[in-house]
């Protein structure tokens, strides 16, 4: 190890906060209307824009209408992404002549990219045409990110408005998120990425003449391209010599930028951010990690500004940061160990667990990236989590199980965290015998019911889905690894889908009708089963008057509340998932290090 991991974590957080602070102020100005008040021409332009798309900029939607608009917009997204994949062979920009994606895989991918999960059952460079990557997948990277931002802004309005009928105009919030925030940031970042070596072209795959010719064994095929079998049914292998390498190309940088800035995580290539064309240098790796946390952090600052008390934003951010540093430390500690089963074969025990990691990143940047990508609901990976040591793999899984609130997805992280904050004031209200209130709003029965739904639906999907998969033969057949690790693969898949993360223990062969459909269900309800209750809470809170702060009000800023919030998150997460974790990574850890 070359540098102390603490310096890297420290540098990462400092750069993050320095960049996110001004962005947070900007976000607040975009969404509370300051920006259009300051620039009259922009306001005029927006009026014309609204007339064009067919909405009234002054319209203030009640939460039901807001939610309908959001769901409608996303359903259209599913249909379009599905259609483009099914018809890609008829459409342009398909230099490798890929055929239509299978119906179950296309369905899964459509749900996956619309819900900001970006779970990938397919390998990008061997499945998707350039047009599909751009017009289907890149568009959803923007649209799903914008959905998350719109929902959290609506929730914040719930706290700031008094006796109001609506929570904003969904069309304007979506447009603002894309055109004022996601698009400019992605544009700048994609050019930085190209400067470092990320590709951006529409060429056919590059043929290379190898320096050293290569011989390998592959299944022998008949004239129709079907693998031949001998009399006993074994696949016949043949030795093939080649001096060619075919290098996948494509418009990668433009998709890469929004993949991270929108906490989407769906890679252009199968290897995602481990691929040298997606993440060529340690610097791009650092910037990619910053981009994942950038908007989630900025939204905390924007939240503080919009509710008129920066301390509220800092408190939420402090809780996130404490959880993040703790988890990052465990992941780094775990991965800096070598696999004892490998070192006993003569490998150097001081180099850490390098299976499934890239040398340019090394142990520190790989473990840190894994923590960042699963703390936020990004799901991009620069190392294969499946090959992490058991406790190193437990950290990404654990971070997702906390509900993707440690920074979390764009918008989704903050609204998830605010749901936990409401639960925390409710629990403390019970303990001290006070009516719970948060940011001047009384928390009533309806709000608590919605909070319960939002918090409980995801564990239900994750544990229910994993349970179905491990008791069915089709579910078990997809496991790539035996024993406890195979169970971890399945648990990871449903955790990732239900929490809209999208990373994987990728050994699991999830591109089967069984997993494609079951995981799509988990992704859809894990997304909108939370968004709709959140918007309901927003609507109800906006309609309430604001209470005055008295000596009996529980302060929701400062270290005490940070502890309350963290405890609530951990208790809920642990109660739900510890038994399942014990059967997966914890058993495997004990098996690996017992001798």
């Amino acid at each position: 190890m070359n540098t102390s991991p603490w310096i890297q974590i420290g540098l990462f957080l400092i750069v993050l906060f320095v960049v996110a602070w001004p962005l947070g102020r900007y976000l607040a100005n975009v969404f509370d209307g300051q920006l259009t008040r300051r620039f009259i021409w922009l306001d005029k332009f927006e009026h014309r824009f609204c007339r064009f798309i067919g909405t009234n900029p002054e319209e203030d939607m009640p939460w039901q209408r807001y939610a309908t608009a959001i769901v409608l917009f996303n359903v259209i997204g599913v249909a379009v992404v599905y259609g483009l994949q099914r018809f890609q062979s008829e459409l342009p920009l398909n230099p490798q002549a890929f055929g239509a994606v299978s119906s179950d895989s296309a369905f899964n991918t459509a749900i996956s990219f619309v819900t900001n999960t970006n779970w990938q059952g397919y390998g990008g460079e061997s499945t998707m045409s350039y047009l599909t990557q751009m017009l289907a997948l890149t568009v959803q990277n923007f649209a799903s990110g914008a959905t998350g931002i719109a929902v959290v802004i609506a929730l914040i309005r719930g706290f700031t408005r008094r006796n109001a009928a609506g929570i904003g105009n969904a069309w304007l919030d979506l447009s603002h998120s894309i055109f004022y925030v996601l698009l400019p940031l992605s544009f700048i970042f994609s050019l930085i990425l190209v400067n470092q070596g990320v590709i951006q072209n529409f060429n056919a795959y590059q043929e290379v003449k190898l320096i050293e010719p290569l011989e390998y064994a592959a299944p022998k095929q008949d004239l129709n391209g079907q693998p031949l079998q001998d009399d006993l049914g074994n696949v016949i292998m043949e030795a093939i010599k080649t001096d060619k390498q075919s290098i996948a190309m494509g418009p990668v940088a433009s998709q890469e930028a929004i993949k991270l800035i929108g906490t989407n995580g769906g890679g252009f290539f199968n290897a995602n951010s481990a691929h040298p064309f997606e993440n060529p240098t340690p610097l791009t790796n650092f910037l990619e990690m910053i981009s994942i946390f950038l908007i989630p952090t900025a939204l905390c600052f924007a939240f503080g500004q919009m509710v008129g008390d920066q301390r509220q934003g800092w408190t939420i951010l402090a809780a996130m940061t404490v959880l993040f540093i703790t988890m990052a430390a465990v992941a780094l500690w775990s991965e800096s160990h070598s696999n004892p089963l490998i070192t006993q074969l003569g490998a150097d025990g001081s180099m850490g667990n390098l299976e499934g990691k890239e040398i340019r990143f090394g142990i520190i940047s790989s473990a840190l990236f894994a923590t960042v990508t699963t703390a936020a609901s990004c799901g991009a990976v620069n190392a294969m989590h499946d090959s992490f040591l058991p406790l190193g793999g437990l950290i990404p899984m654990g971070l997702m199980m906390l509900g993707e609130v440690v920074f979390g997805g764009v918008g989704a992280g903050l609204y998830g965290m605010l749901i936990f904050a409401i639960l925390a004031v409710f629990l403390s209200g019970l303990m001290i015998g006070r009516t719970p209130e948060y940011l001047g709003k009384k928390i009533g029965v309806f709000e608590m019911k919605m909070v319960s739904i939002a918090i409980l639906i995801v564990p239900l999907l994750v544990l229910g889905g994993a349970a179905i998969a491990v008791v069915t033969e089709v579910g078990k057949a997809s496991m790539a690894n035996p024993g406890a690790h195979g169970f971890s693969e399945v648990l990871y898949a449903f955790t990732s889908a239900g929490n809209n993360n999208g990373s994987a223990f990728a050994g699991l062969s999830a591109n089967t009708p069984f997993y494609n459909i079951l995981l799509a269900i988990a992704m859809w309800f894990g997304r909108f089963g939370v968004i709709i209750p959140v918007l309901a809470i927003a609507g109800r809170l906006a309609a309430k008057p604001k209470l005055a702060v008295t000596s009996g009000t529980l302060p929701t800023h400062g270290p005490l509340f940070v502890v309350l919030l963290i405890s609530t998150i951990i208790i809920i997460g642990a109660l739900n998932y510890v038994p399942a974790l014990a059967l997966g990574p914890i058993i495997e850890h004990l098996q690996l290090f017992s001798h």
Binding site: V139, F187, V208, A271, A274, A347, L354, G356, F505
Partner: protein, 191 residues
């Protein structure tokens, strides 16, 4: 519901055109002008012939070259049209068997080595296309390469010394050696 459908569809089409076509095309246009070599994949040419990309690894396993890391891509190693890792868990017997096989091969080709085998030489990378090995893995192979090429080991070693890329800004990432570039430099020595 009724007056939600029109804005939903128009907004979706507008966003699709801007973020799905205009944006990638604009980035491509600027990238082609500002960073044409990077945008096209950082390819290395020998004469007119493309012989690789400085970012994408190639398989090297012959005696006269420095070896790359093992690669888990299918059907052949370093298949740059089908990236991916082994995804084998740490307790998987398949992983342990594969490492045992690789270690045996390395020990047979480097019989004089007393050091432990650098771990990156027996483990596969995440992308299967890792262009780098650790400096330790490069130094480990110096004598073997020098013997096979009938060259002075000190010359080969100094070539490795010069090939080491240090962490970016002395802080980010690990020290590493680009195998393709090192092997091309090795070939250039003989001319």
């Amino acid at each position: 519901m009724k007056n939600l459908i029109r804005p939903a569809i128009t907004l979706f089409i507008l966003i699709s055109l801007v973020t799905g076509l205009l944006y990638p095309l604009a980035v491509t246009g600027i990238a082609q002008i500002a960073f044409p070599e990077h945008a096209a994949g950082s390819v290395i040419k020998r004469g007119e012939e493309v012989i690789g990309s400085s970012l994408i690894g190639q398989n090297f396993s012959g005696p006269t070259y420095f070896w790359s890391r093992p690669s888990a891509t299918a059907p052949m190693p370093y298949n740059a049209a089908n990236s991916g890792g082994s995804n084998l868990g740490p307790t998987n017997p398949v992983l342990i068997e594969a490492v045992k096989e690789r270690a045996k091969n390395i020990l047979a080709s480097h019989p004089d080595k007393v050091e432990k085998i650098p771990t990156d030489l027996v483990t596969t990378s995440a992308s299967g296309l890792d262009p780098h090995i650790s400096p330790a893995a490069a130094y480990y192979q110096v004598e073997r390469v020098a013997t096979a090429r009938n060259t002075d080991a000190a010359i080969v070693k100094s070539l490795v010394d010069r090939s080491i890329e240090t962490p970016q800004w002395g802080l980010l990432g690990d020290s590493r050696v680009n195998v393709l570039r090192l092997n091309l430099a090795l070939d250039a020595l003989e001319k």
